[in-house]
Amino acid sequence: MHSIIQLFIRHGGLLTLVVLEMVCFYLISTYNDPQRQISSASWTKYSGQFLQWKTEWLDYLGLKEQNERLRDQVAELGTQLTNARLAAVPRRDTFVFQATVDTLNRKFTRPEFILIPAQVISNTISGSNNWLMINRGKRDGVQPNTGVITADGLAGIVRYVSDDFAMVMSVLHRQTKISAALKKYEYFGSLVWEGNKPQMMTLTDIPSHLKVKKGDTVQVSRYSLMFPPGHVAGTVDSAYLQPGSNFLSILVKLSQHPAAFNHVYVVNNKFSGQIDSLQQLVKDERR
């Protein structure tokens, strides 16, 4: 109490002024028409501004969640898209020509690929056999020998799976072999890494009569079981004739730089089990 009195003695004039000015502002902005309009307009403007800031800030705080939701959506849309590419080939019988492009109508289409969003938690690019680890495992439906892609390109092939994680053989691994094709030709070959630059893979077994230009798109071939056919892999950098053969080796610049793996999608082929067992039958017969 004493200090309040002291404060008033020292700054009484200023305190009185502030209190009275507040009263005046109230009176002015309540009982005078032009001033009331100005103050209410200003109030609307600045409170609107404030609300805007608040919304932007909340949006910013929600970005992570938003991001995760978008990834889930990308996975779902990617699933639909890859299946749509397959469904675009009409199934036909002798008389009825059915164009089954409605990917949502599962009666006519066979969803082949399911994408599982995952995040890369470790990655190497400097060795001659590189690996990455993702934060999805058996419990999330990840199986060995399935492809891993990013939105822009290829990432690798799942080899070992634990309950919650998986080891992925990077595209920069000597054993990685991906069935790929030039977009403008039907011919396909194998995309391998010969241990040179991290962003360069080699597409082998392309017949030498094909005219290949720098910048041509290289995509996953339609015979790939691990990767969604048509998914972009990279662009042609240069091509040379393999010594003593009629096939080209094409250096492919990957559209997804392996150093920048972050969000990836594990590609589950629903029919890989059936296809494998069919191939196994053929192998058994040969023996």
Binding site: L20, V23, L27, I28, Y31
Partner: protein
């Protein structure tokens, strides 16, 4: 406030308010705001020198709100009046004579401090009051350059003439 006669202040309150409301506010209206003379702050200026600052601020508010209620602009003059009460305290402190004020100078009038001193203090005092008055009247900085500043300057010149005439004629001492 020993020895201070409050009656001259009461008469000034009534007289200046009347002149302001009956004549000058009509003139201001008739001239579309270009002949705006504010004399009632003289009451605030001529309050006793020894008066405490909160009291001066409150009395400034009081005469302002009185003028406001009689002219129908609640708060505009009161805001300027309260500010003037505070500005006056700052000016009296800033322009205090050597050795401070004594009981021999009841009010800040030229009779005690000389015309030079009086004109400087009045000029700043009315400048602040008038500028604040027009700021409150327009209530937005949008009009600052086109309306508030020119009108304040004009009103200040006119008011200063009237104030100096008043002081010269009545030569207030208490």
């Amino acid at each position: 406030m020993n020895g201070v006669n409050i009656f001259p202040n009461i008469w000034r309150f009534i007289g200046l308010t009347t002149v302001q409301v009956v004549i000058l506010s009509k003139v201001a209206l008739a001239s579309n705001g270009y002949c705006n003379i504010l004399v009632y702050p003289l009451f605030i200026l001529f309050l006793p020198v020894q008066l405490a600052t909160p009291a001066a601020v409150f009395l400034g508010f009081l005469i302002g709100i009185t003028v406001d209620l009689l002219t129908g602009t609640p708060g505009v003059n009161a805001s300027a009046g309260a500010l003037s009460g505070y500005i006056r305290a700052i000016l009296l402190h800033r322009y205090a004579p050597r050795g401070g004020y004594t009981a021999k100078e009841p009010i800040p009038a030229p009779a005690y401090f000389g015309w030079r001193w009086f004109i400087i203090v009045t000029a700043i005092f009315f400048g602040a009051h008038i500028f604040w008055y027009f700021s409150m009247a327009y209530f937005t900085p949008v009009y600052l350059l086109k309306q508030i500043l020119p009108q304040s300057a004009l009103a200040w010149v006119l008011t200063m003439i009237i104030v100096l005439l008043y002081t010269r004629l009545f030569h207030p001492k208490i």
